[in-house]
Amino acid sequence: MATKFSLAELMAVASSRQIQDGEIAFIGTGLPMLGAMLAKALHAPNAILIYEAGIVDARPKRTPVSIGDGCLVPGAAMCCGLTEALGTILQRGWVDVGFLGAAQINKYGDINTSVIGDYYHPKVRLPGSGGGNDIGSLAKRTVIMMAQDKRKFVEQVDYITTPGWLGPPGTREAAGLPRGGPAKVITNLGIYAFDENREIYLESHHPGISIEKIKQNVSWEIAISPDVRETEPPTDEELHLLREQFDPQGIFLGGRE
């Protein structure tokens, strides 16, 4: 159990643990895809993974590099389009958990993937919503995965691409969103959840990451759970599957530490 692991591997494993058996999970590219495959191989064999391009319950034989990668199709239960995946599955309310990336996040879990700086004259123009706004609006709960620093955990995001809780209880509902909201945020430093005021707090810090370091990487006074603990490390089996089966080329996991 003393196997070394990278933070990318830890994040992939942490995302896998967010999927319960039998759940329907909406998957984007990258670490959550690896996490989802891991979940299905281990503790959630009856989970059904939906890929945004319109692929249901895929059985890929290599690491998919996009949500529409043709390697997801042979052996899938259903192959359709965005209307089916985002409309009749996601918007209709079938999706238990969706995964999101973020460039900026605020304490209510609202996220920005569009611009850094002024919207019309930004410092950095980012990719935009993609399916993010839909997933954040319409999945029963979301898990946000992102790199963390002070400029990413901010009091006010420069642009709300995807709504989180939007404010205290009632705010999200008042906007007309039918369900959902962020449940967890997984970063390279720790794992966060949301309290009854729908504000983010630290639930666990990754092995080797101090709470002090986490505080330094949030631009407000981050709340800490009284039960804060260290993030459960990956098991050997998880690491083995990730490295040998799901991403042997290191496309998403990168080089080993």
Binding site: V65, P122, T161
Partner: protein, 313 residues
């Protein structure tokens, strides 16, 4: 029971198709999400140096980036503008952040928002209701559309709902596996929103891996995505989606995509890329020759065949 009929052929070269259907200033839709991108037609549009195109899709990757970098697209309507696993789209960033080669505007929706807008246009209704976009800045900031969205109360229940306007399209490019001579188009694998996006258009220009006998299409009519009367032109473009995939024909060319992501980091690199891979080859055929037979053969899809089904009665 039917006499043989002959219609004037829609089959033409990519040069002729772009000359005929793509004029400056139109609203042009790209195609494919994650695969089946219509690069043969996109590269030809760049070669013919079209200007002021409003380029439209939900998920833009290299297709949007190259059209912006080449100075062809000056406006974008869509939801994602990046290179997926390969990072940010550099031409797009340079254009938006620094006005190189020109200042562009972006009307930003979500993936489903764009799909819903194509659905509305494809079905001839002025808008589509959605339950996303609510509470976000997507509907608060706009670029060039006067009215980007309309928040309303559902007259039946009182709940809030967002109306997104139909997305009109002058010309849609589609890359498909095959069609017959009349232009009955068949696609399999992920459909993306090509079904709706193409039907939203006034004119569809389809590039196909191959033209097959009409009997093959008509033995499996449920695979037809577009009926012939919606298709204006057919371009035979094997490997036309390269470096993207076409299910059943070839895999993605990850090395090429990595090369693109790398060389486009600088404007000079991108200009060299345009010379080497777009202007230089002169045509899709020239592009394929530059790639070389070995490389294309390596990408060729392995067989994973469906079973026949019975359509009899």
């Amino acid at each position: 029971m039917h006499r043989i009929r002959k219609v004037s052929s829609k089959i033409m070269s990519e040069r002729e198709a772009v000359e005929t259907f793509v004029v400056d200033g139109i609203r042009l839709r790209s195609g494919g999400i994650g695969l089946r991108k219509p690069f043969a037609l996109i590269n030809e549009t760049i070669r013919q140096r079209r200007k002021n195109i409003t380029f439209i899709l939900s998920g833009f990757t290299e297709d949007g980036d190259v059209m912006v970098g080449a100075g062809v697209a000056s406006q974008l309507e869509g939801s994602y503008f990046g290179l997926e696993a390969l990072g940010l789209a550099h031409n797009y960033r340079r254009a938006y952040e620094q006005g190189i080669p020109l200042k562009i505007k972006i009307e930003e929706y979500s993936n489903y928002g764009m799909t819903a807008r194509f659905m509305a246009a494809a079905m001839g209704v002025p808008f589509m209701p959605v339950k996303s976009h609510l509470g976000s800045d997507l509907v608060r900031y706009h670029a060039f559309r006067e009215k980007k969205a309309h928040l309303m109360e559902d007259p039946f229940s009182g709940e809030k709902v967002m109306l997104l306007p139909a997305c009109p399209v002058d010309v849609a490019f589609v890359h498909a596996q095959r069609c017959d001579e009349d232009g009955n188009v068949q696609i399999w694998g992920p459909i993306g929103d090509d079904e709706w996006g193409a039907r939203a258009a006034q004119q569809v220009v389809v590039e196909v891996e191959e033209i097959v006998d009409s009997e093959i299409v008509r033995r499996d009519p449920n695979r037809t995505i577009l009926p012939s009367f919606m298709v204006s032109a057919i371009v035979i473009a094997p490997y036309g989606s390269h470096p993207y995939q076409c299910q059943g024909y070839y895999d993605l060319d990850l090395e090429y995509r990595k090369m693109y992501a790398e060389v486009t980091r600088t404007r000079e690199g991108f200009e060299r890329y345009l010379e080497d891979w777009v202007y230089g080859p002169g045509s899709h055929q020239g592009y394929l020759e530059k790639l070389g037979k070995d490389r294309l053969d390596r990408l060729r899809a392995k067989p994973y065949m469906s079973d026949p089904v019975n359509y009899g009665y």
